[in-house]
Symmetry: C2
Subunit: 200 residues, 2 copies
DNA sequence: GGTTCGATTGACTGGTCAGTCAACCAACCG
DNA sequence: CGGTTGGTTGACTGACCAGTCAATCGAACC
């Protein structure tokens, strides 16, 4: 079917340009022409590959979120203890940010934390991630490795909320972001949720 | 000076209408005429009291955020243990949501979690809240009531992130929201951050 | 009953942009 | 070559809406 792929994938080029522009200016204040310019492509071509400006963001989100979902499931299958599983989830998200901060900024700022406007469409997908994390907690409770007097759904929200807040802190320069900070963050996230602030 | 206050405060009327409309449609998709209609007031009057649509949201945010800051400081002075202090902070925010969910929805969705577009202006104010919470944690560490191997700034982000994520869950119907849920949430928030998920 | 002045009205304008579309081009094919 | 197909171009349009402003209202005061 796709016997003749163009030498450069313009569609990809547009998506990558969109990441940069959305990250820089935010979704609402980027014009479609900004994306086209950044991609070095004619205005109309954006509409050849995508039906609307929204769909560009949709695509970026879906691409990334499916990876996250896969990572959570992988963590659930791969690791032994629930603590390790949570660690793997936190690790994956932190690494995602380290690897492509602009994309993660767009995902979080424009979709995940914009549940009122854009994120609304994706609420079911987002919810699924919370549920997967809750399932990990629940199993931990059944095996006795986690206490049973905290609602798993609640724990899941706390855990995910903490992660996202951290990323937001990095995104907006509220907390330092270096390689060691990333490593520490992964550890802290797990320690905090599992052991709490009070000494044992 | 203000010897003759109009029988009904139109300015307040506009602000209250804005809360409802912003909560319903989101800031970006509400027209100034929507606010005027909801307030039962002429279009132009909005501009008599506010210099722009942005300023309406500004005002709503500032009103509320200053209360939050006061509550945090009050908690810091009032309570004895750092645990109680965190409990008071969580309690205040949860109560704020219970008392006026629409306003809190607007604050969180349109400002706090919209750090890229609108919230950018208010980042310094928002940051101040994180810092106050971090200070509570720090004192707890000094007194030995909290462990010292977790960065206070990090703990603060985790705690606040968890709270906000919870509210988001209520706002978007991801988790149940009843009076008992609110009460439980306050407790869970403190227990989770202080004791962690693992049994003691 | 006239004057003043702030509150109130809503029609209008200017600018912005998402999305359309007709034309252009280049590769391949018969 | 002439023709077909699909990627590519960018000028144009229609809708939308924030913010302006000149006109009106009405209370208080002389």
């Amino acid at each position: 079917m796709a016997s003749k792929a163009p030498p450069i994938d313009k569609r990809r080029q547009i998506l990558d340009a969109a990441i940069r522009v959305f990250a820089r200016q935010g979704f609402h204040s980027t014009r479609v022409s900004d994306i086209a310019d950044e991609a070095g492509v004619a205005y109309g071509l954006v509409y050849h590959y995508f039906s609307s400006k929204d769909e560009v963001l949709n695509e970026l989100f879906s691409e990334r979120w499916s990876l996250l979902m896969a990572a959570i499931e992988e963590a659930d299958r791969g690791a032994d203890s629930p603590r390790e599983k949570l660690g793997a989830v936190a690790g994956f998200i932190v690494e995602s940010y380290r690897h492509d901060p602009e994309l993660m900024k767009v995902i979080i700022v424009e979709v995940t934390r914009a549940a009122n406007s854009f994120g609304r469409t994706h609420l079911p997908e987002i919810r699924r991630a919370y549920e997967s994390i809750a399932r990990i907690v629940e199993e931990g409770q059944k095996s006795g490795e986690f206490r049973s007097d905290i609602d798993p759904a609640f724990a899941s929200m706390s855990f995910y909320g903490a992660i996202e807040q951290l990323l937001s802190g990095w995104i907006f320069d509220l907390i330092p972001a270096s390689d060691t900070d990333y490593e520490q963050a992964k550890e802290f996230l797990v320690t905090t949720i599992c052991e709490g602030l009070e000494p044992r």
